[in-house]
Structure formats: structure tokens, C-alpha cells
Symmetry: C2
Subunit: 337 residues, 2 copies
């Protein structure tokens, strides 16, 4: 196993963008902690955990959190634990999301529910949530416990909100941003805020870090939603067009629906009928989203949030670290440029 | 809704055993907090939560925790929060267990996965775990955060251990007790220990409370396992004979398997073949468990743990409270007498 990890770490480091490199040692410790050190007792669970953490994941949230740590006083042991907590919660929520969405592919690999089954996925997700709680206890910081507890609560709220808004063309931009905040940005914000808190930063800096994570997270979700329309399955490592197909109204569809063009009404009718009236209803709706410029407008919205994220970094004086943290938003939007 | 709660509270109080009555006010607050005060945003989730908490549940763990509070210095606001956390974790784990076991009945009512579906059950369970985390944060006590984080971890371990030991006749008594501790007793122990910790009790008393919960929890699980053999579906409110049918080797089967009687080998063969060789294989195995006295031996084991639980209460001087806490084990074993 040790050799597998070393090989993996080398492969990973080679793929990492530049801004990961100054925290590569920390990320390697994180990788080992996730892949081999989680105290799973059963052989089956050990196998699933290795599969999950070896089969991809960019460790974007831990990287951001560690860079914020570097920018606010340096990386301490507790920041490594914080990174683990963040990645554990993120991964657990993906596993349970894949049950909810009946997803077959994730990060280019088969999902746990597809490779094993829904029951195993419930347990595996719960185990990772449980491990996140144990590590949260190790931080011995009640403020961070509260922040992450709210993230867990937000994640469920986002998931349920999403579930209850399926095939509803009346979803507003505000609701969409609210759902994206709960489902995605809340964890980005938490890992940035908690990182600054561990370094005992003053409240203004803690808030700026929180704002950076929040804006970045919302932009990340919008970009992810655009990619569901514009990338192919091989490139994104996920099923594509699955959002609209499953009735999930994301930014591109939302903008198309709100277009003043007459064809906006057609999309509405197609969604309300759940693409069930004619065989090619779904393809028609998809084409309309593109024709009405839904993806371009969504892209502009993502760029606005990226600008907000960058502005929150004005407190950082070290030019190298600032460049790295500014590079993260660029990496996120690069995919849709 | 308020009227429903009042009606329910009255019905509940009428059913409560005597030892619940001195904490009935606290239990009523708990009831209202669970049924109507959880901050679920979506209508669907609100409905599910009401269904879950209105459709039964004896609130045994909160009651024990509150009685321990009374016996160690009095019930404080934080004890109510602790009771909520305990019941939330217990309920969330039941919801996810029902997915894993494909159970149709729980507390005499249809399960969430049966009434809605597995996806909704995943979300509902996660939401309750999330709420438990939020309330854990409110306690502002890192020691209790650690205790409950380990409970969450134990719950998963127990579930996975159980899953990986299905149809395995070689399970030892030690493994069975270990699994029962993780899956059940760990939460009983935590709610007793944390209750004493909130009241700033000395370490010996905290440990005694922990021991009381642990022994009580193991006994509770053994009794529950016996009831799966001896009660009917209407009485237990659950599917019966489902453990053995699903390959789960609990105390009664374990004792029958370890009997020196020649027929023990027959059970082993039937389990190993997953009752698939002949139509009446399962009925045959069930009969053998009864004939070999599996349930009687399991009962004796439960009574031993009950004795341990009672012995842990020697520190309590108030005779009335001691009687109440001694009455709880009696209530548990009454069902198998």
C-alpha cells in the first residue's frame, strides 16, 4: 500500500497547479492520512475508502485552506486536521449525493453506489461524516465546531432545497444562489474562515477569508453547472447534461428561462412537462438553453463572484502568497474560458 | 400543529412508565423541540420530521440521560440540548439502518424508505445528524464533542461490522458484544457520561454513569435481539425473525450455534447455505434456535449486564432517584420475562 501511495503522490504532484506546490508537503501528509490512516475496522470499508481517495479528487478545498493558513501566519498541525475534516465532509456528501442523483460516474470513475450499492454508500458516507466529527473534536475549538456543524446542516438544506425544486421553472436567481451557497460555498467559506481562526487572526481578516471562500465557492458551483452543459463526459469525469435531464434548474437554464425572448416560454413548457410529451423534448430544451445564451450569462455571473473573491484578498501583503491565492479563481474559471 | 403536539404529549405521558414522570416537563420540552422546532426549510422535510417524531419512539435514551442529570446535581438547559442530540443521533441512525436493512416497519409504522424512498431517507438521516452537530456545538464543551464524535464513528463501525459478518456462523460472543457496544451501547454510555460531565461530577462518578449506560445499552441490544425471535410483528412494531432471515447472527442464534448438541451443526450448515437449499430451511433453523435454548441463554446474558448496570449506581444516595434508575433495567428486561 505504501508504494501505491508514493506512486499516487508523485502522479498527483505532477498534475498539481503551481499554487499547490508550496503546500505540497502538507498535501502529501493529508493524502496519506485519508488513504491509509482512517481507522476503518472492516476489510470492505478499508477497500472502499482507498478506492474513494485514490480515484481522484483535486483536494481543492484543503489546498485553499492551507494557502489561507500560509497567508495568515503559517501552517500548523491543526490546519492539516482541518484539511482532513474539510475533505472528509466533502467526500461524504458526494457519496450520499450520488445515491440521491443515482449517478453512475464521478471523477471519471464508477460511483460507490454503482460499483457496490446504495446500502454500502450510506454506510461509507456516514463513516466519513463520523471521522470528520472525531477530527473536529481533536481541534478543541468550539467556534470551529459550530462553523462546521452549520456546514453539515447547510449541506442537507441545499440538497433538500434542490430536491424540492426539481422541474420547477419558477426558481429565482436568489434561490439558486442560496442553494449553491448551502450545497457548495458554505464548506469553502468554512475551511477559509477556520484556517484564519486557528491562526488567531483579527475579526476583519477572519471575515475576509470567509468572504473569499464564499465567493469562490459560489463561482465554483456556477462553473460546475456550466460544465454540465459544455464539457463531454470524458473531460468532466461525470455524466453530462444530467442536471437538466433530472429537472435541476441551474444557472444556464435559469438565464435562458428569464430571457425576454419568446422561446423562453418554450423551455418553461418543456420543463413543466418533464420532457415527457415528445421523444426529442429534452434535446429541444438543451438547444434552447444554448441558443438563448444561458451559458454565457452564467459565465458572467461566475466571473462577478470571482472578482468578489479577489477583492477579499486585499489584506494579504506577501505578493507570492497573494498571487497563489489569486491563481485559484483563475484555475476555476479557466475551464469555461 | 400545536394541538397535535399537546394531544401527543398527553398520550405519551399517559403511556410513560413511572420513572419518566419526574422528568415529564423536560421530556415535553424535548418533544416540542424535536417535532416542531427543528429548522427544516423545505415543506417535504418538515413533513418527514413530524412523521418520524410523532410516529413513536420511547425517548428512553433522553429519559435515562435526564435521570442521571437529576441524580448528579439537577437538570440544566444543557441537559435538554444533550437529550435532543442523543435522540437526533439515535433517530438518524435508525433511518439509515432501515435503508441498509430494507426494513418496511419501524415502531409499528411504515419506515421512511418504505413510505417515501431510499433517497429521501439518506437526506432525512443526514439532516438529523447535521442538527445533532449544530446542537453539539451549542454545548460548548469539547470533551462532550469528542464523546459524541466517537459515538458517530462507533455507530458506523457497528453497522459495517454487522454487514461484513452476515451469514457467518463463526462470529464469537466477543465480536457480538463488540458490535452491540458500537451499534447501541455507545450512545447509551455517552448520554449518561455527558450528563454527569455537564454537572461537573468527579471522574469516578462520571465513569460510573458511563458504565451504567454501557451495561444498560448492551442489555438493551440483547433483549431487542431476543424479541426479534419471541414477539409478534404487532407487538414489537417491527418485522420479526428478520435478523436470522437476513443472516444476522445475534445472541439467541449464537448460543444455539455454540451448543454442544449435535443439532448445532445443522444450524451452521443452514446458515452457511443462506437457507437456500430447501424451501423450509429457514423455518428449520428458527426451530433449532428455540429447541437448543438460544433465547433462554441470551436472556441470562442480558440479566448479567442488567446486574452490572445496577451495581454502577452505588454512588447514588437519593433513594427515590436510585429507585427510578434501577427501574429502567427492569423495564427493559420485563419484555422478555
Amino acid at each position: 500500500m505504501k508504494q501505491v501511495i508514493e506512486k499516487l503522490s508523485k502522479e498527483k504532484s505532477a498534475q498539481w497547479p503551481d499554487f499547490f506546490k508550496i503546500i505540497s508537503q502538507d498535501l502529501e501528509i493529508l493524502e496519506e492520512n485519508l488513504v491509509v490512516k482512517l481507522p476503518a475496522k472492516s476489510k470492505l470499508l478499508k477497500e472502499i475508502i482507498s478506492y474513494i481517495f485514490l480515484s481522484g479528487g483535486k483536494r481543492l478545498r484543503p489546498a485553499i485552506s492551507l494557502l489561507i493558513a500560509k497567508a495568515t501566519g503559517g501552517v500548523k498541525d491543526k490546519h492539516i486536521i482541518l484539511s482532513e475534516i474539510t475533505e472528509l465532509i466533502h467526500t461524504a456528501s458526494l457519496i450520499h449525493d450520488d445515491i440521491i442523483d443515482s449517478a453512475k460516474l464521478r471523477r471519471g470513475n464508477e460511483t460507490i453506489n454503482s460499483l457496490w450499492n446504495n446500502k454500502i454508500s450510506v454506510i461509507a458516507g456516514d463513516f466519513l461524516f463520523g471521522q470528520a466529527s472525531v477530527k473536529l473534536g481533536e481541534l478543541e475549538n468550539t467556534e470551529i465546531v459550530k462553523i462546521y456543524a452549520n456546514v453539515l446542516s447547510d449541506l442537507c438544506d441545499g440538497e433538500i432545497e434542490q430536491f424540492s425544486l426539481l422541474f420547477n421553472p419558477d426558481i429565482t436567481l436568489e434561490k439558486y444562489i442560496g442553494k449553491s451557497t448551502s450545497k457548495t460555498a458554505s464548506l469553502f467559506a468554512a475551511c477559509c474562515k477556520a484556517s484564519a481562526l486557528i491562526n488567531n487572526q483579527p475579526i476583519e481578516i477572519v471575515n475576509s477569508c470567509n468572504q473569499y471562500g464564499l465567493s469562490l465557492g459560489i463561482a465554483f458551483q456556477i462553473v460546475d453547472d456550466i460544465l454540465d452543459f459544455t464539457s463531454d463526459s470524458k473531460e468532466s469525469g461525470k455524466d453530462v447534461f444530467s442536471d437538466l435531464k433530472n429537472g435541476l434548474i441551474t444557472a444556464p437554464t435559469l438565464f435562458a428561462l428569464n430571457s425576454s425572448n419568446e422561446r423562453a416560454k418554450q423551455i418553461r413548457i418543456l420543463i413543466e412537462s418533464r420532457f415527457n410529451n415528445n421523444e426529442n423534448d429534452f434535446d429541444k430544451a438543451l438547444r434552447l438553453v444554448f441558443e438563448l445564451g444561458g451559458c454565457e450569462q452564467a459565465k458572467q455571473l461566475a466571473l462577478n463572484y470571482i472578482e468578489n473573491a479577489k477583492e477579499s484578498l486585499s489584506f494579504i501583503k506577501n505578493p507570492e502568497l497573494k498571487d497563489y491565492l489569486l491563481a485559484i479563481p483563475e484555475t476555476i474559471t479557466k475551464k469555461i474560458k
